[in-house]
Symmetry: C2
């Protein structure tokens, strides 16, 4: 176990390095953080920290730089989440309050988060898997064609065109619409399959084809749309990454564009409070020199989706974590109001 002072030294190294982006030496450390000991002592501590793998030297005779393991310890033990200032909070609220629909809420959240953290922001659309059905609408487009519209309580609307095996009457469609809604309106998505299971049986044989086709499309839509989508913003902030540009930035941009990748990574972030995934902890090659801060948000007590930021491992963790948490809270409020 590391002594109190050594932890203090590690904390100082992380803070300085994050600030200056340059390897930090023993002398500079003692000057900027009154550690009450001499550079020589700090050097010994640093030797130990290096031995243990918390810091490393880019080259002999250079200062030290935190390793992934060092950041890990910093985040777990040494950093306090930095709360936002009052004006910042007010700005968040004002900005989000102007949103008119779900797309707008997500869009504003992304821009906000990117601006606050000066990093790349990623916001997942509220998941459908935990939401409920507000209404299912069926419209006949042609003798054997139905448009199915699904409206959720988070304000999302999905629509599909269904081709039926045989023509059907307007009355049958109205009947189906009524009975379907009676069963599923207000219910959770996950409940729907069970609730509609015996619905075809209660219809005339003539209409079974229609009913079954519509239902299977509905269930498909529910499954498909449970795959979340996300919005990304602030990629311009990647340019602040480092000097060794193209090599670092390219795979990051590629990963960000692969929504599947991001969804998977965010899916793995399961801490109810907040998850920080550092460097090589990220299960994706292109993101091994980035850290991802993720937190869940939701309209009520329950999280329905996640949001977060992607930045260099060398980032301001306390500040970033504070901003991410604050934004998640306010978005939750906004969604609850809707």
């Amino acid at each position: 176990m590391l002594s109190e002072r050594r932890l203090e030294v590690l904390r100082a190294i992380v803070q300085d390095y994050v600030g200056t982006e340059e390897p930090v030496g023993s002398k500079a450390l003692t000057q900027r953080h009154d550690l009450r000991v001499s550079p020589a002592t700090v050097r010994n501590d640093m030797a130990v920290l290096e031995e243990e793998g918390y810091i490393a030297q880019p080259h002999t005779s250079a200062g030290r730089v935190p390793t992934d393991k060092g950041y890990r310890l910093f985040v777990d033990k040494l950093a306090d989440v930095k709360p936002l200032s009052v004006p910042e909070r007010r700005a968040i609220q004002n900005f989000l309050d102007g949103a008119v629909d779900l797309d707008d809420v997500v869009g504003r959240t992304v821009r906000l988060l990117a601006q606050l953290t000066r990093q790349v922001a990623v916001v997942q659309y509220p998941s459908l898997s935990r939401s409920t059905v507000r209404h299912v609408e069926l419209l006949s487009l042609a003798p054997a064609r139905v448009m199915l519209v699904l409206i959720t309580d988070t304000g999302r609307v999905e629509q599909r065109v269904v081709d039926c095996p045989a023509p059907f009457g307007e009355a049958s469609l109205a009947e189906l619409r009524a009975r379907l809604n009676a069963r599923v309106a207000g219910q959770r998505f996950t409940e729907v399959p069970r609730l509609v299971q015996d619905l075809p049986e209660s219809f005339d044989t003539d209409d079974r084809g229609l009913v079954q086709t519509v239902l299977s499309t509905l269930l498909e839509t529910l499954v498909e749309e449970t795959e979340e989508r996300l919005m990304i913003g602030g990629t311009a902030n990647l340019t602040r990454f480092g000097h060794d540009f193209p090599l670092t930035i390219r795979p990051v941009l590629e990963a960000l564009e692969e929504q599947v990748v991001m969804l998977k990574l965010m899916g793995e972030a399961n801490d109810p409070e907040m998850t920080v995934s550092i460097g090589r902890e990220n299960a994706h090659e292109g993101l091994t020199s980035t850290s991802i801060v993720t937190v869940g948000y939701g309209s009520g007590d329950e999280a329905v989706a996640k949001l977060g930021v992607v930045g260099p491992t060398r980032m301001d963790y306390p500040g970033t974590m504070g901003a991410v948490r604050a934004v998640a809270r306010y978005v939750g409020q906004i969604l609850a109001e809707k």
Copy 2:
């Protein structure tokens, strides 16, 4: 006016520079493009071309590089749009055919275009202003609350919640739904205001409040949604931009994230065939070292939206233009099938 051979020299310079990314000298030119003249002659031609502003030297004693004006001439007079190969065409079609809904079509188009051109792709959602109403659906959510769902012929669905001044009966709502659809279904957006103008008068005074509120929300939605949105992809290709990275790439990323900026730029591209905006011709600071190739696409004869790519001024214009045009055509076909 420039002689035939000088134009030929300019074309050769553009082609070589695009290929090698390095200033091209007189000797290399004569070797790679049998111009049937000696390097010295080419040098004289180059001197003239430089005098006229079509090419420039980065430094004395370096090769020549095309200027914006040079690319302009190249695109206008010297370049033939390069058609895609058969396998490429087949791949496009296969890829786009798999799309399930409008979002998917746009998403796939973006990825396709980015991959084909190896540049940043921008695709505008089909504009509502020229589309027609397929159906308007009204659902009562609460005694004085209606949900309005607008379905367009391009497959887009918009929804709004309307709060009415007073409660209303289910029958009134059905009545409104029927009459409203009778008037606007199949009609263009732009016609809708005229068509519904006298609708309130034909209802009982009791229901006028409902009718008017719903109608005004509908009209609002039409206006709001005429503001187009767009999808962007392939930003990772920006890393191939050049060596002087951060300075070039940053403003481009910023511009791309400002949808307003991109919409404005695309809006200015009014050539029915294809528009190429080169370097400083772009009315946006951050994009003065990029070129934008834009083309309209649509489900029928008429263009409903635009798509294109953003890349360095030093891009393969014939190839890019060919890819952009081909993709626009296939997307048009897909939309028409829906």
